[in-house]
């Protein structure tokens, strides 16, 4: 029977409806995912941005004889509770370093107590009504305001929220990642070069290959146990240090780098290898002069993504003792340190409400670094991408 266009269209209607339904469902899924992402970012930003500001108040500081013994005496009685204890503690030291201060009285902007900060930001605070009245008066006189929080970026952790910063965690992350990169990159790349360019295809290399792929799927906390057993207990690497954390993360990053490098090597066309062999290159010259340079963008992209993964990792570091309270900024590979995600984890467990914004602020910093790393991976890939 011959069908007219109308007959065929009538039959097709149901099919078109079905594909439209599929389209809307998939768009809905995407929309939901985007919504979650936006909510997450908005929540983090709203909670985290206040962390980059901190209350300061203007007080008269009296560098009296008494103040050098009892710092509380330096500040007027009804202001004492409003000034950060961290600031007051520094007064005797400053007077010792600078004897001319003795007997003078100055008006200074000083770091306010965390509770004042929370009150000014409109959050719940533990200030008494009379204290609140004083803060209100100071604010009216322009002697209390929120200023950019440099402390957050320059100091280590503290039990006083107004003094807590991410600098020690950031430095710890830097040192740890240096160790991770220095260990995982050369070993990973050379392993991949061997497997891809030199190794014969036999049962042994197949088993290795399967194991490497499995390694990438192992829960990261097991790498922490491995790090504890091997690096700390067997080799005696100092615990909580960037060295042990970096080595542990290197174990975790290795399979990622190996797999990325192998993919990159495999994408170099064989015609280039043949050309190089044809002019009399040895196998190593083929790899060094021709294959590796062409595979390098892919290798770097994979390594950066592996490193970004390692940077966001907390679980294995708990086991090797890197989730710790580190008030001093780390500046070596062997002293106790913590890393950004571990710092966030620590803050998230603090009872003081002022740490909520620190937690979110820390997450914002971590996210900013991760986005930068991943973006640089994309840029590298685009820049060095070759077409054949």
């Amino acid at each position: 029977m011959r069908q007219s266009f109308d007959d065929i269209s009538a039959q097709l209607r149901a099919r078109h409806r079905k594909s439209a339904r599929l389209k809307w469902t998939s768009m809905g899924a995407l929309g939901l995912a985007v919504l979650f992402l936006v909510l997450f970012f908005a929540d983090m930003t709203i909670k985290g941005l206040p962390a980059f500001q901190q209350a300061q108040i203007q007080v008269e500081v009296d560098y009296s004889e008494q103040a050098s013994q009892l710092p509380l005496a330096a500040v007027n009685e009804d202001m004492r509770r409003l000034v950060s204890r961290g600031y007051l503690r520094l007064i005797p030291g400053r007077m010792q370093n600078n004897p001319e201060l003795l007997g003078t009285t100055t008006t200074e902007w000083v770091l306010a107590d965390g509770q004042v900060d929370q009150y000014l930001k409109g959050h719940h605070s533990r200030l008494s009504d009379s204290e609140k009245a004083v803060v209100d008066r100071l604010q009216e006189e322009g002697r209390a305001e929120l200023r950019f929080n440099t402390t957050f970026f320059t100091s280590g952790d503290s039990k006083m929220p107004e003094l807590a910063g991410i600098a020690s965690a950031a430095m710890g992350t830097v040192f740890t990642l240096i160790v991770t990169l220095a260990v995982a990159f050369p070993i990973g790349v050379m392993t991949a070069v061997y497997l891809e360019e030199f190794a014969p295809d036999n049962r042994f290399t197949q088993i290795i290959e399967i194991n490497i792929n499995n390694l990438a799927a192992i829960p990261s906390i097991l790498f922490g146990l491995l790090g504890l057993a091997i690096f700390i207990n067997f080799f005696g690497v100092p615990r909580s240090s960037p060295v042990v954390g970096g080595l542990t993360l290197a174990l975790m990053t290795l399979p990622v780098i190996i797999i990325a490098t192998r993919t990159a090597l495999r994408s170099v066309p064989d015609s280039i290898r043949h050309a190089a062999f044809g002019v009399g290159c040895s196998r190593w010259q083929v790899v060094r002069d021709h294959v590796l340079p062409l595979a390098l963008p892919g290798i770097m992209t994979g390594s950066i993504i592996g490193l970004a993964q390692a940077m966001g990792e907390t679980a294995p570091l708990i086991i090797v003792g890197m989730v710790a309270f580190i008030p001093d900024v780390t500046n070596s590979f062997t002293e106790a340190a913590t890393v950004l995600p571990a710092q966030i984890f620590t803050w998230a467990g603090e009872p003081d409400r002022a740490f909520i914004e620190k937690t979110s602020g820390g997450i914002l910093v971590l996210l900013a670094i991760l986005v930068t790393l991943n973006a640089s991976a994309v840029v590298l890939r685009k820049k060095f991408e070759r077409r054949w």
Binding site: G278, C281, H290
Partner: protein, 281 residues
């Protein structure tokens, strides 16, 4: 050795003079370059080459023709041991060059490839500049070190490959930016830059347009003054045009190895005649 003497028109090559062409080409040079005796080659358990005997002469163009899968490219790759790169390949027999068996354990395949260069089917310049494409191998083999010598060598190789006039102003541009025919001539220049004795060409024009093909054919004719050229081709007219000697491969055997003119006008074997006249293949 079991020597068969065939009569004209039969399917077996006359082998009273083992490995030599049936008819001599009086214009050609007859100094031996590569001697091949009883060469058998297997891919795993598949025998791809069966008892090949051939004398290849210096400063000649020798064309290898035959239907797809007949083993001509495999044979070509034996001559500079490119088959070493394929793990499943095993071979027996003798390939002798300069009095040495190229497959003996003391022979370094890198040294062999230094003397036996290769041009591939698809132009495959390195993704480097034109200049670096040429100078890379000579520098690697320590043939040149001074900048002036390098420049001279690049110019000479490009001139010999007939590419100099086209690229002399853009030596620093990537080799991959050239046209297909130019890329193939760049690959030839790259091969001759290390002054090899032999140049193997594996269907060098099959990816090129007719004009580029003609240029490369002229080039082969010129280059045989200096080099021994062994080329695989699917194009019988090309073999007839450029080769001094032609070998016809079929199912892993050399059916006929003959002076090109004789091969195309008056082939010795029935199979070669059938192939050349287009009855199959």
């Amino acid at each position: 050795m079991n020597i068969k003497v065939a009569q004209r028109g039969e399917n077996v090559m006359k082998q009273d003079e083992l490995g030599q062409p049936v008819t001599r080409n009086e214009d050609a040079n007859h100094e031996l370059s590569i001697r091949v005796r009883d060469l058998d080659l297997w891919y795993g358990s598949f025998q791809a080459l069966k008892s090949i005997n051939m004398d290849l002469y210096q400063k000649n163009v020798t064309a290898l023709i035959g239907p797809s899968g007949c083993g001509k490219s495999t044979f070509l790759r034996c001559l500079n041991r490119m088959n070493d790169l394929i793990p499943s390949v095993s071979l027996t027999g003798l390939i002798e060059m300069d009095g040495r068996d190229v497959n003996e354990s003391k022979m370094d395949e890198v040294a062999l490839r230094r003397r036996v260069g290769m041009v591939f089917q698809k132009p495959n310049p390195f993704p480097k500049s034109i200049y670096d494409n040429i100078v890379y191998a000579p520098r690697m083999h320590d043939l040149v070190s001074r900048k002036a010598d390098q420049d001279e060598l690049v110019e000479k190789a490009l001139r010999d490959a007939g590419l100099w006039e086209e690229v002399k102003d853009k030596l620093q541009q990537p080799g991959t930016s050239l046209s297909g025919g130019q890329q193939q001539r760049l690959c030839i220049a790259r091969a001759i830059a290390v002054q090899p004795d032999v140049i193997l060409m594996d269907e060098p024009t099959s990816a090129l347009d007719p004009i580029s093909t003609a240029t490369i054919e002229d080039l082969m004719d010129k280059l045989k003054q200096q080099f021994t050229i062994i080329t695989v081709t699917h194009n019988m007219q090309q073999a007839a045009r450029v080769a001094d000697y032609t070998a016809f491969f079929h199912l892993g055997e050399v059916v006929e190895y003959n002076d090109t003119k004789t091969m195309f006008s008056n082939p010795y074997t029935k199979k070669a005649e059938d192939y050349i006249t287009g009855r199959y293949g």
